[in-house]
């Protein structure tokens, strides 16, 4: 309970900030999306082959595109209040259902990518700091910069070429092999896992580089602080000093950066999901843009903003757990 009492004011402040930002995002999205030259009816017309003009006019009327922009915006906001994110012209179903079917895949991919990038990043960062200025350190730093410089889609293509095409170990596409000998839960999990390996690696590579560099710098920084020398003066073993004292303090900047990176990782998932045909929100957003599906585009931008805000809140909670100096929203320690 003590934790909740301590964290409540910070949560309130963050949620208020989040709400404000979300409102700004909504307005921004609406304006951006409606500046688009083409309109969805062209897509639908294009889609249905040789539809005649009367039908095109009917479509415009039906989807309310003839109304003035402000009134469209008012409808949009009022619908938003009722959690109705609008109807997808193209997929003939509410946008919310469409997103909810695709969201789990993206969340799964991102969670794995975050876990992998944090774990690997911290491990590499700590070992590099532990063996500072040795060949291991230089090699890992160089490798980190290399991964940082590799475009996600390119690493995707190469991984597919090697592991899927040449070696055939891993599938190159989709989330599940669709077969019908009833898979038990374990086989299903294993199947999804096999599909998950390459996309997660592609998405995580970039962030492993970032986290390992931050972790290394942070470890070196912390190791120079007084309480480390004091701990060694108390005869604690070097590993105890390194892992229990230095590591935990060095984690603080990494968690901050992890929060900030979530937004860019969601952006990165667009590329990875398109390269691997992963049925997630990223690929859906790309399709939404090319299909000029207004409601879907706005909904995805909104959901992404919500995800980023929620995850940042989680990161703050994590930060408070790690750093007791934070209380009542005043981040002394940060």
């Amino acid at each position: 309970m003590q934790f909740l009492r301590r964290f409540a004011p910070l949560a309130r402040q963050r949620l208020w900030q989040g709400a404000l930002t979300l409102a700004a995002v909504i307005i921004f999205n609406f304006v951006l999306v409606h500046l688009a030259p083409g309109s969805p009816v062209d897509v639908l017309a294009g889609e249905a082959g040789t539809s005649d003009p009367a039908r095109a006019a009917a479509l415009i009327k039906e989807f309310g595109l003839d109304k003035s922009l402000p009134s469209q915006f008012l409808d949009y906001v009022s619908n938003l209040g009722r959690l109705n994110l609008g109807y997808s012209y193209r997929d003939s179903q509410p946008v919310l259902d469409l997103i909810l079917t695709r969201l789990p895949a993206t969340l799964l991919l991102m969670t794995c990518a975050i876990v992998l990038s944090l774990a690997a990043g911290i491990l590499i960062g700590v070992t590099a700091a532990w063996r500072v200025n040795t060949p291991i350190d230089q090699a890992s730093s160089f490798l980190a910069t290399l991964c940082y410089a590799t475009p996600m889609f390119w690493s995707g293509l190469m991984l597919i070429t090697i592991f899927s095409v040449k070696l055939g170990w891993l599938p190159s596409d989709g989330m599940r092999t669709v077969t019908f000998d009833e898979q038990n839960a374990f086989a299903l999990v294993l199947d999804v896992a096999r599909h998950l390996v390459l996309p997660t690696t592609s998405l995580a590579l970039f962030y492993i580089a970032i986290y390992s560099r931050i972790m290394r710098a942070s470890m070196l920084e912390v190791s120079r602080l007084d309480f480390i020398r004091a701990a060694r003066a108390r005869g604690l073993s070097s590993t105890a000093v390194y892992y229990r004292h230095a590591l935990r303090n060095a984690l603080l900047p990494v968690t901050t950066m992890a929060g900030v990176q979530i937004a860019s990782m969601l952006g990165g998932s667009v590329i990875v999901e398109t390269t691997y045909g992963w049925p997630g929100l990223g690929r859906l957003s790309f399709e939404a843009v090319t299909r000029r599906d207004y409601n879907l585009m706005m909904a995805i931008l909104l959901i992404s903003a919500v995800i980023v805000i929620v995850v940042n809140l989680l990161m703050d909670v994590l930060y408070c757990l790690i750093d007791p100096r934070i209380k009542h929203g005043t981040e002394e320690g940060r």
Partner: protein, 280 residues
Amino acid sequence: MRRLRKFWFVFSRRRVAVLGLVILAGVIFCAVLGPLLTPYRPWQLAGPPLLWPATDARFPLGTDVLGRDILSGLLNGAWVSLSIGIAATSASLLIGTTVGAVSGYFGGRVGDGLMRFTEIFQTIPSFLLILMIVGIFSPSLGNIILAIAVSTWPAVARMVRAEFLSLREREYVQSCVVLGMSAPRILITQILPNSLAPILTISSVMVATAILNEASLSFLGLGDPNMMSWGTMISIGRNSLRTAWYIAAVPGVAIIVTVLGLNLFGEGLNDALNPRLRAE
């Protein structure tokens, strides 16, 4: 001159930074002198298609699906990527610095308002924003630069604001205020020069990120069709992965090397310009 020698002394101590500089120089060399180095234009159907690298003297790096010379594509790509990177970064720096300076120096409601505005761009994933902008407006060079600039200037704004907030408190700025110097003059003549170091450092990383973004856009088919950029070359090679994977691999390596060079150079710059490190 002395400062330059001092800068070079610290900069050259980090071997990696020098490597970055060498790579950067190489890429710029290719970008500028590209057309003179190869007889073919990037789009020109110069030879037999699907030639593997190092099999035909005329095409050292081979040809793509339509027989276009990959080497001249690479050189032209260097020019495209660098120009897009630099243009987008300078636009982003311009917007970001002004917003950051204003909100950092004046603070108060204006400052917070501006920061709230930049926060939007923090919550919307940057590449998704770029995608939306380019996807919506036709994928031309101008729109790509606009999209990248729009999605990256908030990072600059936040950094510049932090710099200005700290520099604003320094005595030499206070004394200028006392002398009755106008606010813009103080901003430009006093505070800006001192915050150039971090701005310069971040700019090289931003150029790298801009190149990565442009490559991703071209890969998704949203690049400028009349520009043979590295991303376009990779997207051309995307479908022939099984038969001719070099078409996608070679430009990918070019991107990695360039971005690597820019990042290493940025690190070197950071150490050389960062007063605290310079003292060691």
